[in-house]
């Protein structure tokens, strides 16, 4: 109870009762308790009635409550799955497949949307009038169209009118495009491929160590170390070198055009492609605006000060502008990533089996509405909460250290 309630109290004492004490009706504390008790009572009553009705309705429909149904046989197929799954698997397996699919499309979408969004956002700030206008048109178009429509546009408008599998469009490197999706060579690792992967991991670790050492050295002696090239060499050069030395231990299984269908290779279904493209393009328009806003929010004095210190344009951007802009960009950017993850539930509209689509199928089969909605809630809320925790940590790390 701070100043405000004291003011309330003073207000209450304008009309003192005859005894000089404040009447209970005018006591803000008593009022507060009364309102809260009333709210609790009403909410409890509402919850009680709803529960009673639900139990009654479920009994009437002969639906057993509880999560036991998850052990039952699913009986439906899932087109695209990252793990072993057949219609004989359990409902729990189906949900796991759905969850993995959600995560897959969300990660792919986040990466692509960030890349497009940053390019478009920087383009809008370009000195070049034509580039700035093209980027603005992109943003204004995609921001103002429902994502579901974009998904349908790709799925029913573009991908489904592609030719049949037997006369697929041929793309370079043995890739094909048809109305069943996008087929590309499957990478089959041979013995020794593991060593190249190990070299990649070693490269990452080594570059981290070298960066630390270079930073320390620069702090102590002022001498700079060409850290960018070193990193590139360690992370990309080392594994490529190992790969070549071992004699490229990898082979490709190319999709082959049969009489009716493509055989072999890997295939990505049109459901995934349309969802992924639509989410990326849609979210990119929002990311572009966030990036633009963040960079514009860095005061002009910062650029001028950096110029006065003799920084070149590249260094100014890298050391002065971008670190400050990122501090503004990252919180809204995370919420866009969350939005993309939530929008991936639009998969149900094109039949891509994400967690909502799988849950919907289960709901139709078993009628376990309460349990399935609860599962959805838990899954999405845990994604949101973990992102929020990460954001708090990140904000605390990035926050300006002030006096």
């Amino acid at each position: 109870m701070g100043k405000k309630s004291m003011a309330d109290h003073a207000l209450g004492s304008v009309k003192p009762s005859s005894s000089g004490k404040v009447s209970l009706i005018y006591d803000p504390r008593a009022r507060g308790i009364f309102y809260q008790v009333l709210t609790v009572f009403l909410v409890a009553l509402f919850v009680f009635m709803v529960t009673q009705n639900t139990i009654h309705n479920l009994q009437k429909a002969n639906i057993a409550s509880g999560f036991g149904f998850l052990e039952g046989r699913a009986g439906f197929d899932i087109g695209q799955s990252l793990i072993e799954y057949s219609s004989d698997s359990t409902y729990a397996d189906a949900l796991l497949v759905g969850l993995l699919n959600t995560v897959q499309v969300a990660i792919a979408g986040v990466i692509t949307a960030s890349i497009i969004g940053f390019i478009i956002g920087l383009g809008r700030l370009s000195q070049n009038w034509l580039i700035a206008k093209i980027c603005q048109v992109y943003v204004e178009i995609f921001r103002n169209i429902p994502p579901l429509l974009v998904i349908f546009f790709w799925y029913k408008g573009v991908l489904s009118i592609l030719p049949n599998a037997k006369d697929s469009l041929e793309l370079p490197f043995g890739m094909y495009l048809n109305n069943r999706g996008f087929a590309f060579p499957k990478i089959i690792p041979e013995s020794g491929f593991g060593i190249a992967v190990a070299a990649f991991i070693i490269g990452i670790v080594a570059s981290v160590i070298v960066s630390r050492w270079a930073r320390q050295r620069q702090m102590q002696t002022g001498q700079q170390f060409p850290i960018g090239w070193t990193r590139l060499g360690l992370i990309l050069g080392l594994p490529i070198l190992v790969f070549v030395v071992l004699g490229a231990p990898v082979s490709f299984e190319y999709p082959e055009l049969g009489r009716f269908n493509l055989r072999g290779g890997s295939n990505i279904g049109p459901e995934f492609i349309s969802l992924y493209l639509a989410l990326s393009f849609y979210t990119a328009s929002f990311i572009a605006e966030i990036v633009r806003g963040g960079i514009k929010a860095v005061p002009k004095g910062q650029t001028e000060a950096a110029n006065a210190l003799g920084f070149r344009a590249g260094l100014t951007n890298r050391l002065v502008i971008i670190p400050q802009a990122l501090r503004i960009i990252i919180p809204p950017l995370t919420s866009q990533y969350l939005n993309l993850t939530k929008n991936s539930s639009l998969a149900v509209a094109v039949g891509f089996s994400d967690v909502v689509a799988v849950g919907g199928t289960m709901l139709n089969q078993t009628g376990q509405a309460v349990e399935i909605v609860a599962i959805w809630l838990v899954i999405y809320l845990s994604i949101s909460v973990s992102t929020a925790l990460f954001m708090n940590w990140f904000n605390a790390k990035m926050a300006l250290v002030e006096r």
Binding site: K3, K4, S5, A7, D8, L11, V14, G32, Y35, Q36, T39, V40, N53, T54, H56, N57, L58, K60, S126, Q127, N128, W129, L130, I131, I134, E140, I141, R143, N144, I145, P146, P147, L148, L149, F152, F153, K156, G157, V158, S160, I161, K342, N343, S345, L346, V348, A349, V356, G360, L363, A369, V370, V373, W376, L377, Y380, L381, I383, S384, V385
Partner: protein, 384 residues
């Protein structure tokens, strides 16, 4: 020696010279904005090349190669698919939109009763326009008519009663349903959002906790799950014999969803109001609701108008999701009509989606432009 040295001093201004020819006109503008640096030159060339690649194809598809008249699929299909369009040529199939236009607007609403939604639409426009013009008088009465009276009248006009034929909601569809859903969602979510935001800032722990719980749970989950919840769980919550209209379920789902987002926008506005305003209102002896209604909310809402309109735009776009739970809003009815074998050609889906996208775009773009206008209009310059 004594001669006075007269310094040369101009007594009148020299006439202004015209700017050098390189600093004015089209040439200057092009140099400044398109060809300033070598990098710019390259980017301009790339951009022009990209436009030259995309624009002619787009215009061909939209206008020059498009089919404009016809009564069934033969007008739009290629020769090899049994139509009249030369093979290899692709153009929009506008007769499809013409033929289905009324369905896209009204859904399967009975044809002889369509004057009713038209009347509602006219009333809506007549009431909305003065509401949007800042100088128009009688805002209070106008708002009352638009947000309270109009929904009541439209309810009876659209569903029937009082001698009008009853039209069931499954027959409603098209743009009409999209507009009803979003207007209802906007009208309901703003007051609920305000109440939730005030609750979240309340001193009473129980009320604060309930509001935070509601807002964070709803904001954490996708709209589809809320709509599934509304369409599958709400009937379970009701006592025997009660049923819920499908449209009403969607309305409840959409409104609950957007009110949580609205609450966060308004909370942002409330937090931006200096403490002195609250204390000033208290010291004037205003009650809590007087304080909020007369002092705090007018300032807070003004601050967050862009956010509110963004929520409206989001809501308008989100109404397209009701097609997933089996209702035929604009997007739903377009998708439904794509399966009409009378019009099944390769170009029909793209044309239909282009049309639906254009309508969505016009509404959303209009709203965002209006919010920019209001922002400038309401900017009293007090913000420091």
């Amino acid at each position: 020696m004594m001669a006075v040295i007269k310094p040369y001093v101009r007594s009148e201004m020299a006439p202004a010279m015209p700017a050098p020819s390189t600093a004015v006109g089209v040439a200057h503008w092009v140099r400044q904005n398109l060809l300033a640096t070598p990098k710019d030159v390259i980017m301009t060339i790339v951009a022009i090349a990209a436009l030259a690649y995309v624009l002619p194809g787009l215009l061909d598809w939209l206008l020059f190669n498009a089919t404009w008249t016809g009564s069934d699929r033969t007008a739009c299909a290629t020769v090899s698919a049994g139509g009249v369009v030369p093979d290899g040529q692709a153009g929009a199939c506008w007769p499809f939109v013409q033929a289905k236009f009324e369905q896209f607007i009204f859904g399967r609403y009975p044809i002889e009763e369509r004057w009713r939604p038209i009347l509602v639409g006219l009333l809506f426009v007549v009431l909305l326009i003065p509401m949007l013009i800042p100088k128009a008088p009688y805002k209070g009465w106008n708002a009352l008519a638009l947000f309270i009276v109009l929904p009541l009248i439209s309810f009876f006009l659209l569903t029937g009663g009082f001698g009008l034929e009853h039209v069931e909601t499954p027959l409603w569809g098209g743009l009409m349903v999209t507009l009803i859903l979003s207007f209802f969602g906007i009208t309901v979510s703003l007051p609920i959002g305000i109440i939730l935001a005030l609750g979240r800032r309340s001193n009473m722990p129980v009320i604060k906790m309930l509001c935070v719980l509601f807002i964070e749970v709803i904001r954490g989950i996708p709209l589809i799950t809320v709509l599934f919840f509304a369409s599958v769980m709400l009937p379970l919550f009701l006592p025997d014999g009660w049923t819920f209209d499908k449209l009403l379920r969607a309305l409840i789902g959409v409104s609950l969803f957007s009110s949580a987002y609205m609450a966060e926008v308004i909370r942002g506005g409330l937090q931006a109001i200096p403490k002195g305003q609250f204390e000033g209102a208290d010291s004037l002896g205003l009650s809590y609701w007087q304080k909020m209604r007369l002092i705090i909310l007018p300032q807070a809402i003004k601050l967050v108008i862009p956010g509110i309109v963004n929520t409206f735009i989001g809501l308008f776009k989100d109404t397209s999701l009701v097609s997933i739970i089996g209702m035929f809003d604009l997007l739903g009815i377009v998708t439904l009509n794509l399966s009409d074998s009378n019009w099944a050609t390769a170009q029909t889906p793209i044309t239909g989606f282009f049309f639906a996208g254009l309508i969505f775009w016009i509404f959303c773009f209009g709203m965002s432009r209006y919010s920019q206008f209001m922002e400038r209009h309401l900017d009293t310059g007090h913000r420091s």
